[in-house]
């Protein structure tokens, strides 16, 4: 039994094809074209079809990969990290609770410098209730993985290929994320890249691997005499990564005509000197809304980790942005600001930009023109950095009252 959208990937794609499919199958297709050696993932909503699609291509024969079924996400990440360390181009995928179950091995993929790639269909952690719908769970943890966020189906397909380029060139594992259900299950049109172009962008290169020819100990115990040096070594190795990402975007742009960047901007030279700053599918909502609301701009973060601090500072300064409206799909409970906002706040610290964080869209709640209009209005009367810096926007206070919104 085959999944129809994957049919396109059963034979060589010789020229760009325009088609339509859901984000999950688009990722499966993109990953197929990068010719992974090992695929090892455990199904979880809303990621399942990406792995299902890959099993299809392996079964049909076009993709000669080892498709490994495991009993849990912990097994999946352990297997994937080991396979990748042994030299295999490896892909895995998860979300939410599965991502949490992987926790024990996620830092190891970073520490051992393995170029693993992982797709996340962003889904909320099960607190306070189980939710299979969208939230930015991935920002709540940070083990050192590279992280790229996509707005739509075209971008998540492209990200499947870009992540391999970034992982291979940086020797750090890369996760590429799209909003669960909103993109993973949404049918949108996209252009597929010819196989030969993908092969050219993602050549299989020689790198450090576990091999009997060069025996060693991976991740063995070290005393306080060595651990810190190991960490500093990682810090140094991370420094070139943003440039590596930039170069990957440039090469990709030349090959496909789609030019991405660490941060992308829209209409920043506007009369209000304000801009939204956010990631993922909300960017599309804002861009459509901005066709009728031209006195505000958008800063779209694509590279979330490493966080492009310098680029953001440059953009804010060059365009004289006075106020930033941060839209974030996660909350902190413990901190002055949730994680995405914290990264932005760190970048803005030396500058005089005012900002507020609006927590929106938790658990798959739609983020619409209502939220954008209210956030913009509230920001207009912000003149300092005093008081609570975040607000939940779009939540019922009582049956008929919306928190902090007068109707």
């Amino acid at each position: 039994m085959s999944v129809e959208p994957m049919k396109l990937f059963f034979k060589e794609i010789k020229e760009p094809i325009e088609t339509a499919m859901i984000g999950n199958y688009a990722v499966a297709g993109g990953v197929t074209q990068t010719d992974p050696d090992v695929i090892c993932a455990f199904p979880i909503t809303p990621q399942t079809q990406s792995v299902e699609g890959l099993s299809d291509v392996v079964h049909q024969g076009r993709l000669k990969a080892a498709f490994v079924n495991v009993e849990s996400e912990l097994a999946a990440i352990s297997y994937s990290t080991a396979a990748c360390a042994a030299g295999a181009r490896t892909f895995t995928a998860t979300a939410s609770q599965g991502y949490l179950l992987m926790s024990e091995a996620l830092p190891m993929a970073v520490g051992w410098r393995v170029p693993l790639t992982m797709m996340i269909s962003a889904r909320a952690f099960n607190a306070p209730n189980l939710s299979i719908w969208n939230s930015w769970e991935y920002v709540l943890t940070d083990y050192g993985w590279n992280c790229m966020v996509s707005e739509n189906v075209q971008e998540t397909y492209d990200a499947a290929i870009l992540s391999v380029m970034i992982s291979d060139n940086s020797l750090f594992p890369t996760m590429f994320v799209h909003d669960g259900f909103i993109i993973s299950h949404s049918v949108q049109k996209l252009w597929l890249i010819p196989d030969e172009v993908v092969r050219r962008l993602t050549p299989k290169k020689h790198r450090h691997t576990i091999t009997t020819k060069h025996p060693g100990v991976w991740g063995g115990i070290v005393t306080p005499s060595f651990f810190m040096e190991g960490r500093k070594n990682l810090d140094e190795a991370k420094k070139p990564v943003l440039n590596i990402m930039k170069k990957a975007f440039e090469e990709f742009g030349k090959a496909t005509g789609r030019h991405y960047n660490l941060i992308e901007t829209y209409n920043l030279d506007n009369s209000s000197r304000m801009a939204f700053i956010t990631m993922g599918s909300m960017c599309g909502n804002i861009i459509s809304w901005m066709t009728k609301n031209k006195d505000i701009g958008l800063i779209k973060i694509r590279a979330y980790r490493p966080f492009p601090y310098e680029e953001l500072q440059k953009i804010v300064q060059e365009h004289n942005i006075e106020k930033l409206i941060i839209l974030e799909k996660s909350d902190s409970l413990n901190n002055l600001l949730p994680p995405f906002s914290t990264s932005i706040a760190t970048a803005l610290y030396p500058l005089k930009t005012l900002f507020r964080c609006f927590i929106v869209g938790l658990g798959g709640r739609d983020v619409t023109r209502d939220e954008f209009a209210v956030a913009k209005k509230k920001m207009e009367s912000v003149n300092d950095m005093k008081g609570q810096l975040y607000t939940y926007l779009g939540v019922r206070e009582t049956k008929n009252k919306i928190y902090e919104v007068n109707r």
């Binding site: 129809e4 259900f181 049918v187 739609d366 619409t368 009582t398």
Partner: protein
């Protein structure tokens, strides 16, 4: 009535929005996917579903335009110009016309006439198209899957894509014989759609979203939750147990059990996924089948198929399609 030229003009500068209402398992999401796949311009399709059991109401949304920036939005659709309802029992359970502008279109798979539907949805300012898609589905496809058939009605009134464009999308998505049958069913639907035109076209240039519709106002707010994450059974929040939910409100067959033929083998009782076979203990200490719980029966036909003595039979619930459109205007 809308013309292809007018629609094309609108699509250059605005979006045309669709909403599909169905029940889990009826293919509402596929119907909306096919709209994007068939459409010549830019489109996005969002489903609103997740963990529904078969039969629970689902929605999916489509936004179409020739302007790429306008369909970049991943929002759900709040001001649909065309609403398609795959199961008429949804009309009493879901507000299918929420956000539909004056002159918008409601397409329903039903045998009800349009005046009855106007009463049911309490709107007199929208156009209504009806199609007995269930009958066509049972005739041509052998199953009550009406998602592609309702697209035939959509083509007839909206001109968003042609039969050829839709057929191409169907042939890419479905295999061989099934694709052919679906296309045949769609052709029948195009012919048989009964159109109740009130003489007003929707104004595609106006945003008709009800503000904050996405917030489900009326449900308890955060101040009214006892403890987040904990749900107690009480009148405010969860008033009844699941056995009080009318899961038999849909399903196209009436199930009829013949007491005299029944041998009390209880295979139907075992196989029914909803515990809708009723039984009681007789004086002999053994269980006897006593009937079918129509409050919960969704007419999946498992019991009919497994009964070794054909003691269970089915009868189509719906009668012939009715139409409120005068014959000279194209009514039946």
């Amino acid at each position: 009535m809308l013309t292809p030229e007018h629609i094309k003009e609108i699509l250059n500068e605005y979006t045309i929005n669709l909403r599909f209402h169905a029940r889990g398992g009826q293919g509402g999401v596929t119907a909306s996917n096919l709209c994007v796949e068939a459409f010549y311009g830019y489109g996005v399709c969002q489903p609103k579903f997740g963990a529904e059991r078969m039969g629970s109401p689902t929605e999916s949304y489509v936004r179409l335009s020739a302007n790429a920036d306008l369909v970049r939005s991943n929002e759900q659709v709040y001001g649909p110009h065309f609403v398609s309802v795959l199961d008429e029992s949804l009309l009493s359970e879901v507000d299918v016309t929420a956000g539909v502008p004056k002159g918008g279109w409601l397409i329903v798979n039903t045998v009800m006439d349009q005046l009855t539907i106007q009463e049911a949805v309490k709107r007199k300012d929208i156009n209504i198209a009806t199609i007995d898609a269930t009958r066509i589905a049972l005739d041509v496809l052998g199953r009550n899957i009406t998602n592609t058939i309702i697209l035939g009605a959509l083509i007839r009134i909206s001109h968003l894509f042609t039969l050829e464009e839709l057929s191409n999308a169907i042939m890419k998505r479905f295999k061989g014989a099934i694709a052919g049958k679906n296309i045949e069913a769609i052709k029948q639907a195009i012919e048989e759609t009964c159109i109740f035109d009130i003489g007003v076209d929707p104004d595609f240039t106006v945003d008709t979203k009800v503000p904050w519709q996405q917030l489900d106002l009326g449900l308890p707010g955060y101040k009214e939750l006892d403890k987040a994450g904990v749900w107690y059974c009480d009148e405010e929040v969860i008033p009844v147990g699941s056995d009080q939910v009318n899961t038999g409100s849909w399903g196209e067959w009436d199930m009829i059990w013949d007491a005299e033929t029944c041998t009390n083998c209880a295979q139907c009782w075992f196989i029914c996924p909803d515990f809708a076979i009723l039984r009681e203990k007789g004086e002999d200490g053994k269980y006897h089948m006593i009937g079918i719980d129509i409050f919960h029966c969704k007419s999946c036909l498992n019991c009919l198929n497994i009964c070794p003595v054909q003691a269970i039979s089915k009868k189509l619930k719906q009668g012939p399609a009715a139409c409120a459109v005068p014959e000279e205007s194209g009514g039946i």
